[in-house]
Amino acid sequence: MSGRILTFNIFRYDPQEPGDKPKMVQYQLAETSGMTVFIALNRLRQEQDPSLQFDFVCRAGICGSCAMVINGFPTLACRTLTAKYPKGEITLMPLPGFELIGDLSVNTGKFMRELAERLQLWLHPKGGDMDIHRLEDPMAPEEAAKLYELERCVECGVCVSACATKQMRDTFVGAVGMMKIARFELDSRDGRSADDFYHVIGNQDGVFGCMTLLGCQDNCPKDLPHMQQIAYLRRKMASTLL
């Protein structure tokens, strides 16, 4: 598909700049083979508009920084080939639901930190054992594999932007929060009881507020099993709480 001229419609707005207003700006670029939206954005910034703002670090779908809405689908720019769009028209919008830094750059870090603090998304060792010199108990490979599956989340924010429930209700935990709760609940090293976890997501802001719209499941760039995970938590909590 190389040789085509791609047309990019990009959301531009810098909240730091007084008087700036949100607008859609059009750019054109010659497509090269294997081009991703991330590569195209770098070329645009290098060759056409150095003021263009967007986030990236790893360019390999690992850091989760370059998430944006591409032609209506929230996803990672570095994993989206421009060849996917036969018309050669690509519209880029920043992820909704996050603080806008500028253009396509949003502050997912601030959101994820607040979520982690609210849900206490870190390991709470059993018995409050904080001795960092003590060797950890060995973990069964099956358990480690299960944890690893949930640990693959890169905190890109796609599930938050793809969730209409989250967009309507700010206090809703969202798929990323529930996925991380599930991760620590599985962890045998974590001292928190099931009750402790239910306390934070066994309510309208957690699993019982989820309307099963499945934007998280359908858009997660890491293909995490959100649907099964949330259904599992819902079943488990419904049977425990009743």
Binding site: F73, A162, M168, G202, Q204, D218, L241
Partner: protein
């Protein structure tokens, strides 16, 4: 008179329970919404087929009505219309409960509605769009279902001629014409959601196809039977005499 703070004179201490694990009522509400939804969706599937038996002829419909009204318990073989009345009251109660629980999902503030519209406009996601239609049809059903149920509570007589009279001469076709698409779309998307919500179905694509096929099938079935009642109603002269089996 600030002669120092004396010892606190506490009578009793009642400890509040700040660490209640989750909210049982959130769980109950979610479960009950699904259960009542399943009941209503299941009922709709049966109801649509029973009323559509008119497509197989007046005689068949007549027999179906007698059977459902408990005709086997009467000496004459005729059913009791109060069975319909009682059932309508029960269904109204289930609908009320379902509606009250579903209200939790409605965007009740203008800001939420704005967010929802903006989301639908910017994110292409079919299941979310399906939910939006479930929301809209759910709102419509708040007003249409009670009208239908009150009609059946106040006027429970059902029969090939009596129902046709209701549809054609009493203009209930207008109600049914609006009710049919709203209830079919709402219920089928709802059944789909319940199945994936509790993790009973992992493969969504075949389920989606089944639901789409069911929506088309039920709409056709409902429209055809509505048309049948219209045609029968048109051929009736007022006052309408109830259908007599065998003699037509």
């Amino acid at each position: 008179m600030t002669a120092g703070v004396s010892k606190a004179r506490v009578l009793t201490v009642h400890t509040l329970n700040p660490r209640r694990a989750g909210h049982p009522w959130s769980a109950r509400a979610d479960k009950l919404q699904s259960i009542t939804g399943l009941m209503l969706g299941g009922f709709l599937l049966l109801h649509m087929h029973f009323e559509s038996s008119i497509l197989l002829g007046k005689e068949v419909f007549y027999q179906v009505v007698q059977l459902l009204e408990g005709g086997m318990f009467s000496s004459t073989g005729h059913g009791f219309p109060w069975v319909t009345k009682l059932f309508s009251v029960l269904m109204l109660a289930v609908v009320c409960l379902h509606a009250a629980l579903a209200l939790r999902r409605f965007p009740t503030q203008l800001g939420q509605w704005r967010q929802l519209r903006a989301h639908l406009g910017s994110i292409a996601h079919k299941d979310t769009h399906a939910w939006f239609w479930q929301l809209i049809t759910g709102f419509v059903l708040f007003f249409l279902v009670p009208v239908h149920l009150f009609t059946m509570i106040l006027n429970p007589e059902i029969g090939p001629h009596l129902s046709a009279e209701r549809v054609y001469h009493d203009n209930a076709w207008l109600l049914y014409g609006l009710l049919l698409p709203a209830v079919v779309v709402h219920a089928m998307i709802g059944l789909y959601r319940v199945a994936v919500k509790w993790g009973w179905v992992q493969q969504r694509a075949p389920l989606r196809k089944l639901i789409k096929a069911l929506i088309i099938y039920l709409l056709l079935l409902g429209s055809a039977s509505l048309l049948a009642y219209m045609v029968i109603g048109q051929g009736l002269s007022l006052p309408v005499t109830p259908f007599v089996p065998g003699g037509g």
